[in-house]
Structures are given as structure tokens and as C-alpha cells.
Amino acid sequence: MAWYLIVLPLVAAGAAFAISSPMWRVRILTTTAILHLVGLLAALGGWGTLPAGAWLGLDALGGWVLLVISVLFLVCALYAPAYLALRPDRDGRIFTGSLLSFLGLASLLAQSQHPGLTWVAIETTTLATAPLIYFNHNRHSLEATWKYLLIGSVGIALALLGTFFIAYAANMGGVEEPLLYGRLMRYSAHMSRPWLRAGFVLTLVGYGTKMGLAPMHTWKPDAYGETPGIVGALLAGGVTSCAFLALLRIYAVVSAAGEARFANELLVGFGLLSMAWAMVFMVRQLDFKRLLAYSSVEHMGILVLGIGIGGNAAKFALFHLAANALVKSVLFLSAGNIHRSYASKQLPYVTGAIRRTPVSGWLFLLGFLAITGTPPFAPFISEFNIAYTALTTGHPWVGTAFLALLGAIFLGMSDTVIKVVFGTPSAQRVRTPYKDTFATTAPMIAALTLALVMGLWLPRPLQDMLQSAAAMVGGQP
Amino acid sequence: MPESLFASTLHALLHILTALLLPPLIPGLINKVKAVMAGRTGPPVLQLYYDLAKLSRKQAVFSRTTTWIFMAGPAGAVAVGLCAAMLVPFGHFHAPLHFQGDVILFAYLLGLSRFLTVLSALDTGSSFEGMGAAREVTFAALAEPALFLGFAALAKSTGSLSLSTMLAHTGPLLRFSGPLVLVLAGWAIVYMAENSRIPVDDPNTHLELTMIHEVMVLDHSGRPFALVLYGSSLKLLVLSALLVGPVLPRNVGPLLGWLAFYLALGILAVGVGFAESVMARFRMTKVPQFLVAGVLATAFAFLLMLV
């Protein structure tokens, strides 16, 4: 386990909150992000060896998720200085502080081996990210924050109850504290089935709310729509990943207990429902930030669908976690730039982005193509393999529905995206001083390149890590 | 039929000479018959030869709207007609050129000559000639399938894709048997349409609005017009040969064979003249139905051969 991954960002958060000079604050932000990634890579050397009975430790699954979050965070951190420079009106203190504390809590979550601790981490993440959503301090952002907090807290309360249930199941099975995942999986045979199932249902609903699975996703479009693009990127790629990880841990226990079929039916159902729901709201969607929010709902659906199908698909669901996070960051950041340049995110007003903000416009288009599964970007690989596994391992109808939904979503999304990107900028909107600069676009280009590389080549150690993470989800301790 | 090289060259020569010299005779014959039927003396049978000779000496007048295509059209049509004539057997001797698939080439050569005529008509920009061209292509679209279905029927019965064998030996398909009669009936309709004879078109009316072929050549004069006239008569000959081929007597000697062929041509010409003088031309709107009848006839012929 690596304490410093947790401590460093939290300390940095404190520092960022304390000092007054904005310049130093962003320096702290970026340096912390870089250090965190470096430290993580160093720590990942030993993911294989997890001491038994440790409450904190970096295993393959947590390591993979944390790696994704860390890379995503670095992208956002590199973008942040330019963004904060554009928003002198807002107090960067809370912003930077929350960002950094989120990173620390995510590291805690990724390393926690105890359901209670996991739950605590998720809860605190919610609290840490709430101020980010309230960043703009207007009625809408307040409403968004209120919905995010209340719906999220209710969901997490359910997750707590679910955790209690599972603890009780273990308790009936004679498993004593500490309820580490490893031990739970090892003694899963003795656990009481009804409690386990009920616990899984509750945690699924609870963490699903946090992830944004339909129909518990309702806070998502509001929150993503009202926050700055950078926060949207972090929420869509980071916070959701945290909740997904927490869910996966429980799922691993359940499938270790041999209840995988029960759980898989639920996951597949939620996956398809989320994709369908997202499809409904992406068709003729005039607000391109909400469009991205629904796309995030869709991809959460794809993640759980992949897990539900299992086997090869589970592995590629984990792969998709990374792919989605990277591409979503590109989409949200470019959408943020376009929003900034037009001072609007509504369709009739925002057209011809490639003329007003060429780089962001192209990146938005490319990001859209990437996220909808255009080879050779990473999402294509995962979507292709999930479809392939579904079609060939006894879920032909699920696979068909999956492909059909992907197609329908592409139709809906492309309509809006093309209208935003191409054409001539409409005359009604006054042009804001914003222009694409190196600082506001380079991070996105880097992220997109990374997504491209991932589609073509993944380093051997990472492949092994992915493999064993998938095995872990499959229920082998 | 096994022939000596000498004999076959002789046949080829005769074939070529026929194709070159005979054509203008046929319209003359038809017109003579019509005149006689109408109780007139009518022009001499060789009238067309005279016309051609005169036209080829005459100075041409042509529209300043036109391009080189206006001239190239008639020339091309004649060249194409001659090539087509080299593919059709006159009587029961192999045509000078015969190979598997020349049927299709033959049909497409007809198409090519139509293409050239139409283009040279459109070249003048006259709305009348445009109208004629439009009708020409419209009706051809119906004549084409009839022609091909007839070929299909013959090909199925003879197993050959060459006009020379297909027309000369119609295989199990006996002369005057149902299918063959139907094929010939269908082709007769094609014959009238392609050569713009009554009842499809009237070669010697001068109401532009009712004409097809004549109206397309309104602006031609001099040598180009000579080529136009010669070309159409050539087409008449070629299609006549197509029509009479299957009904000619078989396994007769060379001399008799040629005589039979010429005789058949003559009879056909007289028949056409007779028909033209007893019946009127259809209303434009009736023509398509007439052609569809041709298509149906050949289609039935094909189906009959399967039972």
C-alpha cells in the first residue's frame, strides 16, 4: 500500500486552501498531479503482493482504476491553470482544494480493502465534489448541487444499508471483523444468501445512483450541464469510476459466493436500460453539455453490461473504463471551450464551432467519433469486444440490442454534434474574447492521443494487470 | 455445313456485296408497292440510288448550332450498320464474322446507331428534333427487351450464342412451331419500330409532331443526309435478314440458298408495302402498348419452350 498517494493530495489540498496566491495554487495542483501519477506508477510495481489482513493496499483492480483516475486528473490539472486564468471572478481556493482532496479520497478508495472504508471514501468524495458543482454560484448551479447532494446522499445511504446487510450476512456466516474483501471472498461460501442478495441489490442501487445508472442517474444531466467542463470531465471519468469500483468489489464477493447469475441479470438489465434511457434523451438534444451527460449515462450502462456478460466482456468493461474516461475528458473540455467562446450551450445559437474555435471544434468532433466507437480509438476496441462476447457466448439478443442501441445513439448524437461543429457561426451570439490557445487545447490533444494509442497498443504489464483485475471481478480472491 | 475455304470466301464476298449494294432497293420496292396499291405509278424502284448519287454531289447546308457530332452521327450510323450486317447470316450461310456472343454485339450495335442518330438530332437544338429523339429512345426501351427475349428463346433451343448458328439452325425449334412464330411476331414488331415503319411511324408524312425518325433528320442535307438515307435502308436490310433467316428452307445448295434469301427479302418488302397501304399509323399513345405486345410475344415464346 502507498500512504503517500493518499496523504500527498490531501496535504496539497490543505496548502492550496491555505495560501492566497493563485499562481502558487495552480502550481501546487499540477505538481501534485504529476507526483501522484509518478508515485502511482512506482507503487504499481508491486500490485501483485497484497499483504493479507491489510485494510489498505493496492491490488490489480484498485490499481487499474486509480491509474485511470490519476491520468485523467493530470489532464484536468494541466488544463486547470488556463481555465482559472479565464475565471478570475471565482475563488480558486475551494476549487483547487476540492480537486486535490478528491484525488486523495480516490486514492483512499482505490486502496481500501474494507467495505466500510470504501463507503466512507465514496461519501467523502461526494462531499468534496459538491463545491465544484456549485462553482458558478448561480441559481442553476445551486439547483444542480442540491439535486446532486440529496439524490447522491440518499443513494449512498442505501449503499450503507447494503453494506450493513452484507456485513450481517457475513456475521451470520460466522465471519468476524475485519470484513476485508479478501476474507469475505474466501468465506463467501458460508454467508447467508438472502442477506447477500438483498445487500447486493441495495449496494447496486446505491452505488448505481452515484455512477449514474438509469433510472437513478437523474442528477447527472443537471450537474454536468451546470459545471465547468473541467469538473464535468472529472465527474464523468473520476467520480463514476470510484462508484463503479465500489460496486465491483461487492460484485466480486457476490460472484465468489456463486451468486453471479443473479447479479449478472441485474447488471445486464441496468446496462440496457441505461443505454436506452440515454438514447431517448440524446435524440434531438439541444444542449450539448447535457448531451455529454447522457452519453456518460450510456457508457456507465456499457460498463455494467460488460461486467454482466462476464468473461472477456468484463475485462473489456474495465478497459472501457479507461477509454471512456480519456475520451470523455476530451469531450467535456472541448465542450467547455466552445461554451466559453459562445457564452451558450444551446443548439440554435452554437453552430460552426470549427470556424470560431477550430481546435476545440475538431477535438469535439473527434471525441464524438471516438466515443461512439470509431476504430482505432480505444472505445471501439471495448465496444467491439463486448458485442463480440455477447453475441458469441449465449447472449445473442443482448448483443443485438447492444449494437442496435449503439446505432440509435450514434444517430441521435451525431445530429447535434454536426450542427454544433459545422456550419457558420450564428449571428445572434456576440463573440466572447475566448480563443483557443495552446494551454486550453494541448491537454485534450494529449488525452485523445492516449486514447488512440490505447486502441492500438497496451503495454504488457498493463495487459497483465487488466487480466488479473478482470479475474478478481470474476470472484477469484 | 463443311465448306471449302474457297466457297466460304465466295460466300463472304457475296455477303459483303449484298450488304453494300442491296439496301436502297428495299425502300424502293416498298414504295413501289404502296404506289401501286394506291393506284399511282410511283417512283422507280431504284429511286433511292438516284437520290443518294445526287445528294453526295450536293453542297450541304447545316445549322450553326451544331458541332462535329452532327456530321459524325450519320457516318457512324452507317459504319455501325455495315458492321452489324457482317454479323447477320444472309440465308443459311455463316456470316463473315461469327463467334459466341455476337448476338449481344449485334443488338448493341443497333443501340449504338440509335445513340449516334439521337445525338446528331439533339445537336441542332431544335425542339422538334428533340421531340423525335425522345420518342426514339422511349420506344427503343421497349423494343430492346423483345429483341433480347427472342434471342434468349433461340439461344435456349439451339444452345448457341452466335447469330449464324442461332438463326440458321433453330435446333429442336421447328419452323412454324408455336414458339418460333411468336418470336418472329415479336421481332416483326421490333422491325417496324426500329425502321420507323407504319403503324409505329410514318416515313413519309411531313407533320413533324407525329414523326419519329424523319423529324430527327430535318436539318441534315447533302452527304450527311445521303448517309442517313443509306444507313436507314441498311438497317432495314439487316433486320429483314434477321426476320427471314429462321424461315428459310434448309440444306439447299448455295445457289438456291441465296435465291431463297433474296426472294424472301422481296416478299417481306412487298408485305411491308402492302401492310403500310392497308393500315394507318397508331396514335403516339398506342405505340407503347403495341411494343409491349412484342415483348409479351417473345416472353411467351420463351416460356412455351420450357413446357
Binding site: H114, P115, G116, L117, W119, V120, E123, T124, T126, L127, A130, R139, H140, L142, E143, A144, T145, W146, K147, L149, L150, S153, V154, I156, A157, L160, L161, T163, F164, A167, Y168, N171, M172, E176, E177, L179, S192, P194, W195, A198, P221, D222, G225, E226, F281, Q285, R290 | -
Partner: protein, 211 residues
């Protein structure tokens, strides 16, 4: 015995909560429910561990005094006293609450308990309280009442947590206490911002973001 009485009272408070229209009263009742839950650990005969005392204190002080205090202050700021025109009327709410309680009992039947614990009534009561909290959240319009609903929901979880307090105290404490903290945090938002940004605390005004 004694704890069964307390639990029964808790369930009764649920009914009172959904039935009352006056906000003051609902806050009062919520506080009362908090106190009940606080007393509950004492009556389980688990002895007086530090954990148990901690839980009891937390419940009594925070749920019974601190949060109601905050809520009353908020209420004093904005001048509203009644929850007028809730989405779901009071009688219907009562019926639904009863229905939910019934369902919780059915559900609890399908969840076998450890033999010989004093917890026979805990699971149904916990689920019923949870459901009541949800009912309040769903059916009421005023932000404050929704917060009350959230507190009741928490109470349900707290109630279930007591079943585990003996065997795995750390888990339960961290969970429950953090949950309380969140409750307070959420209220902070309500009290400090919503009443300012939106003159009344009617959540209908919080429905501008939609598709």
C-alpha cells in the same frame, strides 16, 4: 420487552410524521424519534460499551437536539409553518406508510435472523422507517420537510446498524456518524443558500433544469 416498546413507538412516530402538516410538529417528532433510537441501545442488554454509549450520545444529541435546532432556526428565517398542498395528500400518505410497513414485514420474513437475538422487530422496523423517510422525500414540497425525510431515512439505517453494533462496531460507527455529518451538511446548503437564492424553500422552484 422494553426495546420492543421503543421500536413500536418508533414505527408509530413514522405514522405521525407522514400524517402531520405542520412543519414545527414534524421537526419535533423527528427529534423525538432520534431520542427513541438513542435510548434503544441501552435497552438491548449489551452492557455499556464505549461504542454503545457513543452511539446513544450521538443519536440523542445530534438527532434529538442539534439538527432540530438548526431546522427551527432555518424555519424562523423563512416564514412558513405548514406544508400546504403536498404532492401526496396526508390520508394517502398514511395508507402508503401502512402499506410500506406491511411490505417491510413481508420482506423481513424472507431475511432469516440469527437465532436468539433480541432483534426480531428490528428489520421490519428499520425497513419501515426507511420507507417512511422515502415517502416524506417523495411526497413533500418544502426543502425542510425533505430534509426531515432524509433524517428519518437515516434513522432507519441507524436502527438496522444497531443489530451489528456488538459484532462490528467500527463499521457501524463510522458509517452512522458520517451519515449524520452528511445530513448536517445537506442542511447547511438548505439553510444558507436555498432560502437566500429562492425566497421561499419550495422545491418547485428547484425544477428549472429539465429536458
Amino acid at each position: 420487552m422494553f426495546h420492543d416498546i421503543l421500536i413500536t413507538l418508533t414505527v408509530l412516530t413514522n405514522f405521525t410524521l407522514v400524517a402531520t402538516s405542520r412543519i414545527h410538529k414534524s421537526i419535533q417528532v423527528a427529534a423525538f424519534q432520534g431520542v427513541l433510537l438513542g435510548l434503544l441501545p441501552m435497552t438491548l442488554g449489551l452492557g455499556f460499551h464505549v461504542h454503545i454509549l457513543l452511539m446513544a450520545a450521538a443519536a440523542v444529541i445530534v438527532k434529538g437536539w442539534f439538527i432540530p435546532f438548526l431546522l427551527r432556526r432555518a424555519l424562523a428565517k423563512v416564514h412558513i409553518h405548514r406544508e400546504v398542498h403536498p404532492y401526496i395528500g396526508y390520508t394517502v400518505s398514511l395508507m402508503l406508510c401502512a402499506l410500506g410497513t406491511g411490505m417491510s414485514i413481508v420482506l423481513a420474513h424472507n431475511l432469516p435472523l440469527k437465532p436468539g437475538g433480541p432483534f426480531a422487530l428490528f428489520v421490519p422496523a428499520a425497513l419501515a422507517t426507511l420507507f417512511t423517510g422515502f415517502l416524506l422525500l417523495v411526497s413533500r414540497r418544502k426543502a425542510i420537510t425533505q430534509v426531515v425525510g432524509y433524517l428519518v431515512l437515516e434513522n432507519g439505517i441507524f436502527l438496522f446498524g444497531l443489530m451489528l453494533i456488538e459484532d462490528m462496531p467500527i463499521l457501524v460507527e463510522t458509517g452512522v456518524l458520517l451519515d449524520l455529518f452528511v445530513g448536517i451538511f445537506v442542511m447547511g446548503i438548505v439553510i444558507n443558500h436555498i432560502s437566500v437564492a429562492f425566497d421561499s424553500m419550495d422545491t418547485r422552484q428547484l425544477a428549472e433544469l429539465k429536458d
